[in-house]
């Protein structure tokens, strides 16, 4: 399992660069990850990212777009605007979580 240095912290990542250790993440790292994929974080972005973090902690799996919408109360259209094209994967990456495994 490779490690990589993000914001001066050494963190574990998978082969694609998704973080693999939940507790190695913090907001500063989240910002660095977002910058790396061209996402400029705003309050709306953070709300979604923190929902993903909390939901993963409770459920043990990364929520899908539908879950972020139905359980988190976020608007699907807005998620596609905040994290263009591949919102589920981009949110998971910034939140330091694995890619969502669910189909829907």
């Amino acid at each position: 399992m490779p490690t990589t240095t993000i914001n001066g912290h050494e963190v574990s990542v998978d082969d694609e660069g998704f973080m693999t250790v939940y507790d190695e993440w913090d907001d500063q790292i989240g910002t660095a990850l977002a910058t790396a994929i061209g996402v400029d974080m705003t309050d709306a972005h953070w709300q979604a990212i923190h929902f993903l973090r909390d939901d993963f902690k409770a459920q043990g799996v990364t929520p899908t777009i539908r879950r972020v919408s139905t359980v988190g109360g976020f608007d699907t259209k807005q998620l596609f605007t905040l994290f263009p094209k591949k919102p589920a994967k981009k949110m998971a990456y910034i939140a330091g979580l694995p890619k969502p495994a669910g189909c829907v």
Partner: protein, 169 residues
């Protein structure tokens, strides 16, 4: 063994304007055959792929207001249902099989058809109704799911999906 290296950033394909498009023809109105198109279409949208769903023939039930919430699954003639074929046409079997499938879908948090269409629309998908199917069933736009982009004919569909990958379900 672990290796430290420069920051690995996954590719989300943002730079590459692939222009990938997917068109799915939904031609079946059974509960079990409604979902493959919806699930694959939704997955495509989540991957940044432009999506067009075309509802035709029996698939029209998926977007007909009076029917979309009551699609059924019948084990008749379906050996994958794993029950004696002679029993499948008996009264009540379709109702029971539909109920069981619906329960499995609910447990996996798969949304009902109308809600699934909402999700696809919110994700930027395009929904097209087949003109001939509308005429055959004497249905107009107001009888159909509100998010339909239009009632179009076969030529229109071919035109709109130029260069798209195509699935017939």
């Amino acid at each position: 063994m672990s290796t430290t290296q420069d920051m690995i950033v996954p590719s989300f394909g943002d730079e590459a304007e692939t222009g990938r498009r997917l068109a799915i023809i939904c031609s079946k109105g059974n509960l079990d055959m409604a979902y493959p198109g919806l699930i694959l279409g939704n997955a495509a949208l989540g991957e940044g792929v432009e999506l067009h769903l075309f509802f035709t023939f029996w698939g029209f039930d998926m977007i007909t207001k009076g029917r979309m919430e009551n699609l059924k699954f019948s084990p008749v003639g379906n050996t994958a249902a794993h029950m004696p074929m002679a029993l499948t046409p008996l009264p009540g079997v379709t109702k029971m099989a539909t109920h069981m499938m619906q329960k499995s879908l609910d447990e996996l948090e798969i949304p009902p058809v109308p809600e699934f269409l909402d999700l696809i629309k919110a994700s930027g998908g395009h929904l097209w109704a087949c003109r001939l199917s509308a005429d055959m069933n004497h249905l107009a736009a107001e009888d159909l799911y509100d998010g339909i982009d239009g009632i179009i004919n076969a030529s229109d569909f071919i035109e709109k999906t130029e260069g798209a990958q195509l699935l017939f379900i």
